[in-house]
């Protein structure tokens, strides 16, 4: 039986540190002109530079610098007037040069912050996460270990190397240590990554898809006794590829650390891998002995000295902050805090907005995405955004309901069918022959039938017991296979029974 979270936070204070890697959405790689299309045939997006062939030289992608500066500005960082690339030397088969061109002691953006809000029992709480640095580097290739049971290097028969990813521009965003989050550490970690993701998306610098690895989070967690100012030993959890996982990973590590500490054991400084299925982490590389990467300034590249007016131009062109944008939406839609928070939590705000932009009523759009669609997403254990239903589909359904051409009940059927891949709403309605029965004659026939089947109920209604009408309405709905407008049925039924 593992330790209860309440017991962990009663005794320890968590200290967070978050490192986020973002693949920039540039058309070409960091140091060469190769394409960066996700999922291309292995080794088709390579050249002498990103394969690290002898003699090849890197040239910095200027767009990547622009994007990184934009990120730094959006995170309230200072942009270094002079920064450099450095070589991080280590051997690995999927590293073409056996050094990674990165930034070390002279990163391009430093000292920023990001404010995040979380919804708690005590209301909305604000936390400031300080950013230490934002720097550029290149991604490595990918190793695929074949033949083993686990897909890991141990036990594999052979490995395949795909260098398409080698040289994709990466930006690493590193926070300073984040103390003071207390029991909210997991939520703060999640909110930070979510907010960061929204900022990156608004800047249009990355497609920020955690499941495809274009946004990757390493969560560093340590615990210290409440009141102590000595930092505990941290673990670094990798492979955290959803917002929910960020929260689970931090909570899981807090409990694991606390259990060790309570038993008088020590926490090992190491990399841990998050397991989506169990929500637990598994031990990876030990970092007890610091690796010596023998960093030194990259002699093949010249220092980055961005023009001050260029920086100001980029600053002036920054889009509206996601937090400001949210406030604006909340006002426009007149949504209470709680409901706003649940949209953010369910990660549907952007889709709701898109649906509203297509003409749907905000309350209705919110209702569908947070209700029926969220329910199906939950069942399938994915996010609403991942379901094959679009804001356009939902806007169309909302419009049909408003026009009286669908009932809510029918609309739910249409949504299910769209998600099941039966086509767009109009196609589903067409093929399934869904339509609201509003023809009085057809409805009256069904009403007569219901009264005939339950004469005693009809008598009650005639006698003034209106709630009893529900049973008859239900029967009519059943008879019409849900295609009748329930309000209309009620109206006709009551009139027919003299009420």
């Amino acid at each position: 039986m593992s330790l209860k979270y309440e017991d962990v936070i009663a005794k320890y204070e968590p200290v967070l540190g978050l490192e986020v890697h973002v693949e920039l959405g540039t058309a070409s790689k960091m140091f060469c002109g190769c394409n960066t299309i996700f999922g291309a045939e292995p080794n088709t997006q390579t050249c002498p530079v990103c394969l690290g062939l002898p003699g090849a030289l890197p040239v910095v992608n200027e767009k990547a610098i622009e994007y990184t500066i934009m990120i730094g500005l959006a995170l309230n960082c200072s942009i270094a007037p002079f920064s450099r690339f450095a070589r991080k030397n280590y051997f690995y088969p999927d590293m073409p040069k056996n050094f990674q061109t990165s930034q070390y002691d002279e990163p391009i953006c430093i000292n920023g912050f990001l404010d995040v809000e979380i919804d708690t029992d005590e209301g909305i709480k604000k936390f400031r996460v300080e950013i230490e640095r934002v720097h550029m580097e290149e991604d490595t290739g990918k190793s695929l270990h074949m033949g083993g049971a686990t897909g890991r290097i141990h036990g594999a028969d052979y490995s395949l190397l795909d260098y398409n990813r080698a040289g994709i521009p990466l930006v690493e965003i590193v926070t300073k240590i984040v103390p003071g989050t207390g029991k909210y550490a997991p939520e703060v970690a999640r909110a930070y990554v979510a907010e960061l993701r929204d900022i990156l998306r608004s800047l249009n610098v990355s497609d920020v898809k955690m499941e495809q690895g274009s946004l990757r989070c390493d969560a560093n967690v340590s615990l210290r006794l409440i009141g102590s100012d000595v930092l505990g030993t941290r673990s670094e959890t990798k492979n955290v590829n959803s917002l929910r996982s960020v929260e689970r990973a931090v909570r899981g590590e807090m409990i694991r650390h606390a259990e060790l500490l309570n038993k008088g054991e020590r926490v090992v400084q190491e990399t841990r891998h998050f397991q989506e299925d169990t929500g637990l982490t598994r031990s990876g590389r030990s970092k007890e002995q610091a690796e010596d990467y023998r960093y030194f300034p990259e002699p093949d590249l010249v220092p980055i000295v961005p023009d001050a007016t260029w920086i100001e131009t980029l600053r002036a062109a920054l889009p509206e902050k996601p937090s400001t944008h949210r406030k604006r939406l909340q006002e426009a839609w007149s949504v209470p805090d709680k409901e706003m928070a649940s949209m953010i939590n369910a990660d549907v705000l952007e889709i709701v907005e898109a649906t509203v932009n297509l003409g749907a009523d905000p309350a209705k759009a919110r209702g569908w995405w947070l209700g029926e669609i969220a329910r199906i997403a939950n069942e399938k254990d994915v996010t609403a955004a991942d379901l094959p239903i679009t804001p356009k589909d939902v806007a169309e359904i909302v419009a049909l309901v408003a026009a009286g051409e669908l009932t809510d009940k029918l609309a739910r059927q249409v949504i299910e069918a769209v998600i099941a891949g039966e086509g767009r709403p109009s196609e589903v309605i067409e093929t399934r022959g869904i339509k609201v029965v509003s023809d009085d004659g057809a409805l009256m026939a069904a009403i007569e039938k219901a009264i005939a089947a339950q004469p005693e109920v009809a008598e009650k209604v005639r006698g003034g017991n209106l709630p009893a009408a529900g049973a008859l309405i239900g029967a009519v709905m059943k008879e019409t296979e849900g295609q009748a407008d329930a309000a209309k049925v009620r109206e006709l039924l009551l009139k027919h029974l003299g009420q």
Partner: protein
């Protein structure tokens, strides 16, 4: 014999129709077949490719196309420069059998100028050495005395000129690898300003010091070749984006009247062979006689240049050579079921690298290690700055600086093989130029009386003032020629019987 002419004269013969490029190329291929068993200047001769290029040049000429001044002239390419489809080994076992899939920028420029590439020349492994004895494929022999070294690392290129196997060659100079071989073979070699010639496709030894340049038998020939290969290259971030100085015009000018020539106090005296100093002083007198003003300058930090060089160059090489890991190209040793990638890397590097290369990788790895970085790499970079300052100060007093190129004439093969420090001292006068990124030339200054072997006179000019080298070089060359009555290479004795 046409092969004994200068490139400029060969070009005139092609232009006048006296001969064709195919005939000229065939004459050189014949010469290679005749003497290269003894000289071993070439690691690969591309007869077929060379004749095809020659035929193309002839065809263009016959069609009346406008051709570059060196169109149709044969050239020998140092094996550190990649040429598409042609074996490139860098004198190392590691790259045995590798055929690069791309052209270096220098090769692209040579092709565009219709220069005929005869083949690849021998060198110290990965350009590490001063004698060409470190080649995995056996040493090159000095045509002046086959028992002696031709200098290094580019001994193959210089020897091919002195043996009349080629009228032009490409070398690379990291600490003197163009100039010292030129000095000991009685030929001309120029290390251009760092960034003056693209490094794209030059297999890196030490990226911040490496520079490709022309090797020839006359100052004008060197200038003609320099002009073909120089200029900004967007594929090399360190390449200078500015017009190339008017070097050919300077080589045709040769006027030192009123010019201030600074003699570097620290680059003479102890450790310099008497005959080398005598020829140096005679050249100074000739220059003074032509109206130059000779002044003495002091560069006190040159004392530390060699030590600093042997920290910076190995540090960069330890990182540059990390890519030779048996994963993507070159040899692979020990690849068998159950052997890990890391073991294969280790076994391959053990077999693939020679002693000097290993020595420098280990030295550089150590110098960059955490805890040693500041004391070694960091201090060496400071020395580098001081050497630059020494040059800056000296160039306030003189337009060019001069010294003997190498402290001695060619030594016997094997004589210094077991004494790395003695070997390193060969480059004591050439290294400061690389450390400061400026340009330097070596041209023959006569034969030392002790051994009747060639000595070299070094001219140094500020960055992007390469034209000054050619102006002063041409003046001295003309004065020496009129003094000697015949070019120095008419005395080449090692191959005397057949020459």
């Amino acid at each position: 014999m046409i092969i004994k002419r200068n490139a400029a004269d060969m070009a005139a013969a092609l232009a006048s129709g006296e001969t064709t490029s195919v005939a000229l190329t065939q004459a050189h291929l014949d010469r290679i077949a005749e003497v290269d068993k003894e000289v071993h200047a070439f690691l690969h001769v591309d007869s077929e490719g060379a004749l095809a290029q020659a035929a193309l040049a002839d065809k263009k000429r016959a069609a009346g196309e406008k051709l570059s001044p060196l169109a149709g002239i044969p050239l020998a390419l140092k094996d550190v420069m990649v040429q598409k489809g042609i074996p490139t080994t860098c004198g190392s076992k590691m790259l045995e059998g590798w055929r690069p899939p791309y052209d270096s920028t220098v090769v692209s420029k040579l092709r565009a100028a219709d220069v005929v590439i005869l083949g690849k020349t021998n060198m110290d492994e990965f350009a590490m050495g001063s004698s060409t004895e470190n080649s995995a494929y056996g040493p090159t022999h000095n045509p002046w005395d086959l028992s002696r070294i031709p200098g290094g690392s580019g001994g193959g290129s210089s020897a091919s000129l002195a043996a009349f196997e080629a009228p032009l060659a490409i070398g690379t100079d990291t600490g003197g690898s163009i100039r010292q071989p030129a000095a000991v073979t009685g030929t001309v070699g120029v290390k251009p300003t760092y960034g003056g010639v693209s490094r794209y496709g030059l297999v890196a030894f030490s990226s911040s010091l490496d520079q490709a340049g022309p090797c020839a038998r006359t100052v004008l020939d060197a200038a003609l070749l320099h002009e073909v290969i120089a200029g900004h290259d967007p594929k090399d971030s360190t390449s200078i984006n500015a017009p190339v100085p008017a070097i050919v015009a300077a080589a045709k000018n040769g006027n030192v009247k009123g010019l201030k020539i600074g003699v570097i106090k620290e680059l003479q005296g102890e450790g310099y062979q008497a005959g080398v100093l005598n020829r140096f002083n005679e050249s100074l007198e000739l220059l003074a006689g032509l109206g130059a003003e000779i002044v003495e300058v002091s560069c006190p930090y040159f004392e530390y240049a060699l030590a600093a060089y042997y920290l910076i160059a190995p540090s960069e090489c330890s990182s540059n050579l990390a890519r030779f890991d048996a994963m993507r190209y070159g040899i692979r040793v020990g690849d068998a079921s159950g052997v890990s990638a890391e073991e294969v890397m280790n076994l391959t590097r053990e077999v693939g690298f020679g002693r000097e290369v290993k020595r420098r990788i280990i030295l550089g790895t150590y110098a960059l290690s955490s805890g040693y970085y500041d004391a070694y790499y960091g201090s060496a970079q400071k020395v580098r700055t001081l050497i630059k300052q020494d040059f800056d100060n000296a160039f306030l007093k003189a337009d060019v600086l001069v010294s003997p190129t190498a402290p001695t004439t060619a030594f016997k093969i094997g004589e210094k093989a077991d004494d790395p420090i003695a070997m390193y001292l060969n480059d004591i006068a050439t290294i400061p130029v690389n450390m400061a990124g400026i340009c330097g030339m070596s041209l023959p200054s006569g034969l030392a009386e002790e051994d009747n072997l060639p000595t070299g006179f070094q001219i140094m000019a500020p960055a992007m003032k390469d034209d000054r080298l050619y102006n002063v070089g041409a003046a001295l060359e003309a004065a020496l020629l009129s003094k000697w009555g015949a070019p120095i290479l008419s005395h080449v004795s090692g191959l005397g019987a057949r020459a």
